[in-house]
Amino acid sequence: MRFLNFILVAIAGGILIYSTVDMPPWADPSSPASVHVSPRYIEKTLEETATPNVVTSVLADYRGYDTLGETTVIFTAGMCCILLLRRVSKR
């Protein structure tokens, strides 16, 4: 059983390593991820949001709805912990 798991992991890793042939080289300035929308964020952030830190402006303004969802996930996780573990003694 353990040997079977190892073979499964080796096959999955082999497929993933084979797929890196098509990936862009490391630190390539013209990789697909770096030429799609991120140049616009970097160039327009001072003009549109007056915020020098591009990470903050993308996090809170351009993609604020996404961050609202992430915050809701954190809040839900906290509530889950309280519901699972906390026992309030009855007076």
Binding site: N53, T56, G64, L68, A77, G78
Partner: protein
């Protein structure tokens, strides 16, 4: 569950360190616009200061400063600030979470700057409260109050 370990070096050092850590957490939240930082990082630093207080002074010391009821209120209050700013922008004629329409007498870009600051504060409060609440629940296995 975690009781106080009587060591004068640890308690004194932590009493000196914790205010500095909390001040640094507030700085990271407020200065997230022009340096690395923001609500998530500052909230985790603020939560870590309370976790250090639990480790050095025991659970009862934390209960005096941040009771569990207050902590749960903080959890939802931060998210309320975030969603409330979005609804406020909706009321004043913009899209949801479009801070350019907030009724502040500055330019649109600066209104967005202030809106970002507001939601960073909300995120920081929620993250801090959730970190404290998860740590308190797991460390005491819920056997408290």
């Amino acid at each position: 569950m975690i009781s106080r370990y009587e060591s004068i070096i640890i308690t004194t050092l932590c009493k000196l360190l914790i205010p500095v850590i909390q001040l640094y957490g507030l700085y990271v939240i407020m200065h997230g616009h022009s340096s690395p930082g923001g609500g998530f990082q500052g909230g985790v630093i603020l939560g870590a200061s309370f976790i250090l207080l639990v480790i050095s002074h025991g659970l009862d010391e934390v209960k005096k400063r941040m009771s569990e009821k207050l902590n749960t209120i903080f959890c939802s209050f931060g998210l309320l600030i975030y969603a409330g700013l979005g609804v406020l922008a909706l009321i004043f004629g913009g899209n949801y979470l479009d801070y350019g329409h907030l009724p502040i007498p500055v330019t649109i870009a600066e209104a967005r700057y202030l809106g970002i600051l507001g939601i960073e504060i909300g995120v920081g409060i929620t993250v801090m409260a959730v970190m404290i609440s998860i740590f308190l629940d797991i460390s005491s296995v819920g056997e408290q109050e």
